[in-house]
Symmetry: C2
Subunit: 257 residues, 2 copies
Amino acid sequence: MKLNIFKIGGNIIENQEELMTFLKSFSEIDGHKILVHGGGKSATELLLKLGIVPLMIQGRRITDSETLEVVTMVYGGQVNKTIVAKLQALGINALGMSGADANSIQAHKRPVTEIDYGFAGDVDGIDASILTSLLNLGLTPVFCALTHDQNGQLLNTNADTIASALAIGLSDEFKTTLNYCFELNGVLKDIDDKTSVIQKMDSKSYETLVSEGIIAEGMLPKLHNCFQALKNGVAEVRIGNLGLFEKENSNYTTLTL
Amino acid sequence: MKLNIFKIGGNIIENQEELMTFLKSFSEIDGHKILVHGGGKSATELLLKLGIVPLMIQGRRITDSETLEVVTMVYGGQVNKTIVAKLQALGINALGMSGADANSIQAHKRPVTEIDYGFAGDVDGIDASILTSLLNLGLTPVFCALTHDQNGQLLNTNADTIASALAIGLSDEFKTTLNYCFELNGVLKDIDDKTSVIQKMDSKSYETLVSEGIIAEGMLPKLHNCFQALKNGVAEVRIGNLGLFEKENSNYTTLTL
């Protein structure tokens, strides 16, 4: 049985029109599927409105208790429930979830080293059994970027990591494809040329591209995680603009081992 | 099979200690159960912080689009996910839901008459089948006070009404008890005497108490709804402080037909 896991980022979520285009494409994909979303700039906007200074270090949010409250409201409440209601209107029986719901994603608070990330979660594992049961009921889980430590503490957790953990954890039950959706058509050879999409990449060609310095620095950790997912049972990873995924001869990047 | 549905109000939710006491009692109740919560004053507090004037008419919130965003964040995000995480720590496999999730509660926007309540929902029905499946998976649904119109619109919906609709809708599948939990020990004969709990009430004694003017005005619509639930298949309604429900010889009000 096939399972498609899609992760969408802030740029899609923040633009009402792009979000609706994405959700329509998502609703038309056959078979079992899961959606994972971050919260994008709306959390930062609410923090600022409430007079809380957003703290980021190396692109990662520092989650103090006030910030955790805000991301719980924005990711778990506003963004998640809005997407669920829109998907229901499109005929998809969506079920909004955090990792605390049905104990679906277990995590621990990131240990303090040089940086104290606060209430940030590192994923330990997922409950493949309950998620398989939910999928078999015809439900489409919609995950926000929150997990829990099983001791009552919610944790702000990277949405890419959640998508990858779900794809890996469900690979025994399903032939799993992990789809990272963003505004570009895929991984680019030349960051200034949006048509220079690398259509196929395997671990060997990836290493060559890295050694030649062709892959931009920002993409490195993302691609590293993709290949980790492939090594741990995920059948395929696709990176690009979801609207194009289901069209023939489309331009996007497919990763395999 | 028995099903216990509990509704908790703002006074329990806002007090961290009372909430934990309630959740502990709730976690100790055997068998299938569902929790329904409102959001209490935290939504009003956030509205005020954001410079939005909360509008209430006859004790009911007027939900304009800004207010809907805030209640979606507070009820669906902060309050719901916090309760779910706390219940998980107590060993209960909680699943946070709005009526949009799994299309579990269908509603329509309240028609505008003399008052325009905005995005307020009147419940049409529930999906007993999916909820039964979720309960049979060992999950404990935790509902916030939000429903949807199946056309993509979330709706702010009275938590008492949601609890009652769930109890009625699940009465074919389960022997259903509806529990309204609040700070008092039950329905009082004398509003100034907190020990004057009416322990048992049926539709006949209720009518007598109403005609004698003994039941306070604020309780009338609540009790009317309770008897409606009993007439529609709910086995029993209990009103009082949940901590006492499971103790012998406790003081609370039990309603039967």
